[in-house]
């Protein structure tokens, strides 16, 4: 599995890195190079360390190369349910120990499940580092496969789905439903939260085999960032993880799929919402391809902040939307390793409609495709993206997680230092190309979600889009 990705990666890198030598816009004082040291243990665990002694704390992230794409077909939501079970104790450290030790050591912890990976993150005073690594190694070995905790977490996950989806206006349609309609393959288009029935059907045997198959050291990356040297961190990693044997990981199915060739429009009604909303999504370029960085810059130009084309165009000038937010799957423009979406989400005004919002988006995209972007705007967008990238790396927990995720998905933790150069290298012509290639009507999936009270009993012809006014 690794190998196949590595080849793709190298092919992609050669195109991207040529761009990295473009003249740098940012002042020298604005540059930030993160130290990144990588070592692979004998059992296949890759350890990535980024040392920073400015605070007596440390961030830790263990990223497993398994997410919602690889869960069993009759067990939607299982990767996420399993993530919860990783906190429910082991034969050596029963339920309760994990969190008590981390919070009692002054730390904070969490975990999350995405399409391509599942991550387990901690941040704590450096005095607790040995304990955190011991705990992470302990649950990598095995779990306490226990019916009581399974039932407990099935209940908790159902409450999570109620609080985030079923009892919420909009129900997360812009990040849950949109992918179910945009993708063709099951790995990409099923509900990662899962159906209640599938969650209830999960058995201890499922839990056992998932841990055995996907949670070995060879399928994981350990990231450590903060108040520790790489030498010391590698020693600790070896001490706590070195003796865990590698385990065979099932080869992944081929979940690649091309761009869509026909627009999909879905209408939904919402019993809880009072304001209509729309999500429009386009399939993204392949990770590491020559179109990847330009797509990220285009996304930022269109919807990165209040200066963006769509915020100014839809919220301020046309005044048809309350907001415009860009989503990149469940992650960000750089963190994916399979089919993913660039999604725009907007709440729109009651006196307009989905067609008008889409027409306005199309108009702004067409401008970029036709005229490209002037140098001053492009420079501003890049400067903002550079700063944003650094901001996301400030906290040790995010830093550890980012280097571990990059190592997992790109096979290269140092991507964290390459991204600024990739952003820098994007040209106006690149933006024209990706706007024309990806942000097409054929590649678009749209969900228009209306409050029940607003939804017309019969579909009426849509009104023409109002013209832009300044």
């Amino acid at each position: 599995m690794r190998k196949r990705h590595l080849c793709v990666l190298l092919a992609g890198l050669t195109t991207i890195t040529t761009a990295a030598f473009a003249t740098a816009h940012a002042a020298e004082s604005d540059r930030w190079q993160l130290p990144v040291a990588v070592k692979k243990l004998d059992n296949g665990l890759t350890v990535v360390v980024s040392q920073d002694h400015s605070s007596p704390t440390v961030g830790v992230s263990v990223v497993y190369h398994v997410g919602m794409r690889l869960e069993p077909k009759n067990r939607t939501g299982f990767a996420h349910l399993f993530e919860h079970l990783m906190f429910q104790g082991t034969p050596v450290a029963p339920k309760g120990v994990f969190d008590q030790v981390i919070s009692g050591g002054g730390g904070r912890n969490n975990g999350s499940t995405r399409a391509d990976f599942t991550n387990y993150i901690e941040v704590a005073p450096v005095s607790a580092l040995d304990r955190i690594l011991w705990l992470e190694a302990d649950r990598m070995k095995t779990l306490d496969f226990n019916p009581t905790t399974l039932k407990n977490q099935q209940d908790v996950v159902k409450e999570e789905i109620r609080v985030n989806v079923k009892n919420q206006p909009y129900g997360g349609f812009m990040w849950i439903d949109i992918g179910q309609h945009a993708f063709q393959k099951w790995e990409n288009n099923h509900d990662g939260y899962g159906s209640f029935q599938d969650l209830e059907n999960a058995s201890l045997e499922d839990v056992r085999s998932f841990h055995r198959d996907y949670y070995g050291p060879n399928n994981a990356v350990l990231g450590i960032a903060g108040d520790i040297s790489p030498e010391d961190a590698f020693k600790l990693a070896d001490k706590y993880f070195g003796a865990i044997p590698g385990r065979p990981t099932p080869p992944p199915p081929d979940f690649a799929e091309g761009l869509n060739t026909k627009e999909k429009r879905i209408e939904q009604t919402d019993a809880l919402a009072q304001v209509p909303a729309i999500a429009a999504a386009w399939k993204m370029p392949t990770r590491g391809s020559r179109d990847h960085a330009p797509m990220a810059v285009l996304g930022s130009l269109l919807a990165g902040d209040e200066a963006s084309r769509l915020y100014q165009g839809l919220v301020k000038q046309r005044q048809i939307a309350l907001n415009i937010d860009a989503l990149y799957g469940l992650t960000d423009p750089w963190t994916y390793n399979g089919p993913t979406l660039f999604t725009l989400f907007a709440l729109y005004k009651p006196d307009t409609n989905a067609d008008a919002v889409l027409a306005a988006i199309d108009e702004e995209v067409a401008k970029v495709a036709r005229d490209g972007v002037d140098a001053a705007t492009l420079k501003r967008v890049k400067t903002h993206m550079l700063a944003d990238w650094y901001n996301g790396l400030e906290s040790f927990i995010e830093r550890a997680d980012t280097v571990a995720r990059m190592q997992t998905l790109w096979g290269d933790a140092n991507v964290v230092n390459k991204i600024p150069g990739w952003i820098e290298g994007v040209t106006s012509a690149d933006l024209q190309r990706v706007a024309k290639t990806y942000l097409t009507r054929a590649n678009r999936t749209v969900i228009d979600r209306k409050p029940v009270a607003m939804a017309a009993p019969a579909a009426k012809p849509a009104a023409a889009a109002p013209s832009a006014a300044n």
């Binding site: 120990v97 005095s127 109620r162 206006p169 990040w175 209040e306 005044q319």
Partner: protein
Amino acid sequence: MRIHNNLLALSTSLALVCALGTAVAGPAAKLPKQLPPLAADKALPVPQIAQKTLANGLQVWVVPRKGLPRVDYALAVRSAGYASDGPDASGFASLYAGLLTQGTAKRNAKAIAEAAQGYGGAIGANALNDGVLLSANALPSQAEPMMRLLSEVAQQANFPDAEVKLAQANALQGLKVSQAQPSFKATRALLKATYGDHPYARSQPTEAAISAVTAEKVRAEHVRRFRPDRALLIVTGRIGAEEGFKLAEAAFGQWKASGEAIADAAPARANADPQRIFVQRDGSVQSAVRLGRPAIAATDADYLPAQLAGIVLGGGFSSRLMQNLREDKGYTYGARGGLNALRDGGSIQASADVRNEVTGAAISEFIYEFGRLNDYPVPAQELEDTKRYVAGGYLIGNQLQSSVAASLASNWLYGLPPEFLGEYVPKIRAISAEQVQAMAKKYYASKDLSIVVVGDYKAVEGQLKEYGEFKLEK
């Protein structure tokens, strides 16, 4: 970091809650023998604050740091927030704060947004109960122009008619978005039960209050609220103290106050008759359960011990509420609670969203945990763990430059001295189990709690009988 325009923070956050996260806790467990020991604690870093007061009364604090390439500015303005909003202007401060960056005498809204983008940063204001926090950040090479933009927004915001109208229209829609969320309705009812007629009860907008806003009113309020003698400017990041003072003097030295300063808000009440309120929400598959009562201000002598008691009760993944309602019972994704102390008062609050079937059972567990905190001293290990949790939180926050700026700013707004931040952890460490229990008896007695439930009354009414007569609201 993106500083959201307040008006849409809610709708925006909707779109950004994209992680299938987890939050976990455990009962008091026995530690495994093989667990390695904690290493020795390192010295607690204390922010070194260079302080100066300009001739016009503006306080300037500079905290040089060696973190990422960024400077952060936080201009905290006292008496400019919700507590200064009139009885008919509920939530006005958030509309006003959002408009600060929508035009100045020199630049329109678009030019401001583009300038911030070009500086590799952001600028935006947030309304708080006790003030407004105008924040900005930029790449180090852009420290000077960003400081100028900050001062331009603070001193020359001109609230164009068209921007006020747009903000108003969007706020009315934003309110509709918020009202569809159970947490918004629950907060509204709990604030009312807690603070009664005090402005702390009115931090949420109403349709009438939004509709009553005019550009003239906003301009007049800006003159009243934004004044150097009521403000603190915090400068932090890759910038030296001298440089910070120089930029601040150049940008803010000529700022002048005009007219009378706003009078301080009256103290909020410390006690209230407990109420039972049910807010009907058709089609709810969960009940949003909230419990609370008024408490104390952040400058009260009881602040830290009362806060520590709240962290034991519902502070983190390992807190009692989380362990009980989530990890033991599986009633909820998250249960939390504790003290929220402000400048003129504060409140004790606890919350969980639970499936309809266990609404009554969840309330019973809340009451049980409040009772347990009253009836028994916190065991030594749990108290020690909680203190370490607090100390760790301080270290984790101190690693982030915007978090240091925000903590210093909010402490100042509450009326706490600058050294409070650095002294916080040692003071927490010195608190005894007896003190925590005394605080529990004083502020965490279940008989004093109001209970608010937002959900489907028909689905849960049978479970509520033993908790008193619930007043039904829409």
